[in-house]
Symmetry: C2
Subunit: 132 residues, 2 copies
DNA sequence: ATATTTGCAAATAATTTGCAGTCGA
DNA sequence: TCGACTGCAAATTATTTGCAAATAT
């Protein structure tokens, strides 16, 4: 359950936090802060954008969500913290997840480095838009 | 020569543009807009930050430089447009380049996709900071 | 002279911060 | 009650834009 996830991360499962976590986990589309806020405020009118920011920061520090920046200046969030890449279609703007073979990326250049986070962002055109 | 590079990209080699390109090519440290401006303004007092923005945008569109966003909200620029990854040390903040075997990353998940840009960002601790 | 480049200052956008009010154990 | 959670509004930061002045060919 969502509240257990928060408990286990040492985060008090308040109503707003549960809503935000729930939203992130149910949506696959890597929403922006604005999208999260705009959608949830319909259901939870007392929600403020500050709380969305606060909460996402909290989640992020706890490792519950990851920030995605396929394109600069546009920050999105992903509740799937397993390692995977993100592809953004330049036409339809949709973001696709794809599996990345982590091990294959590592090169001898980074011998002796302690790698904690790996981000793989691709951009291009998706099959749907290529057909046009 | 720098001015030829610009000519070949269809960009008029103005004084400021040459200075900015030169700066990017000589520095290996992937400067931010602010760093570029602050450094160059010492040498070229008439330079404005708007011009740095304009010029970088121009260069970027011409494919002369690439934007780097290892960490969200911090945009840096790289005059090396060959495919490579960027590692940012969370301790000393330094950015290291490393070779990436592009081919190894592609997965079956992206069959039918036209991949135009590949970005690989790692974060962690560099050997120097690990020793402390 | 004519088009391009440049620079200021204002506008915009995303995010952070300070602080006061509110809520729950 | 007390401390954590929330929300408003103001502050901050990065970037873009409009337009006029400077510059180059």
């Amino acid at each position: 359950m969502e509240s257990d996830i928060l408990q286990n991360s040492g985060i008090k499962p308040s109503f707003h936090r549960l809503k935000i976590l729930d939203f992130l986990r149910s949506r696959k589309n890597h929403p922006t802060v604005d999208e999260i806020y705009s959608e949830l405020v319909k259901e939870v009118p007392t929600l403020s954008k500050t709380t969305v920011y606060n909460t996402l920061k909290l989640f992020q520090e706890a490792g519950l969500v990851r920030r995605i920046n396929v394109e600069e200046q546009e920050t999105r969030f992903d509740a799937d913290t397993a390692s995977h890449g993100h592809f953004k279609c330049v036409q339809c703007k949709k973001i696709y997840d794809f599996i990345v073979d982590d091990a294959a990326i590592v090169t001898s250049d980074l011998k002796g480095f302690n790698i904690e986070v790996k981000k793989v962002y691709f951009q291009g055109t998706c099959p749907g838009c290529l057909g046009k």
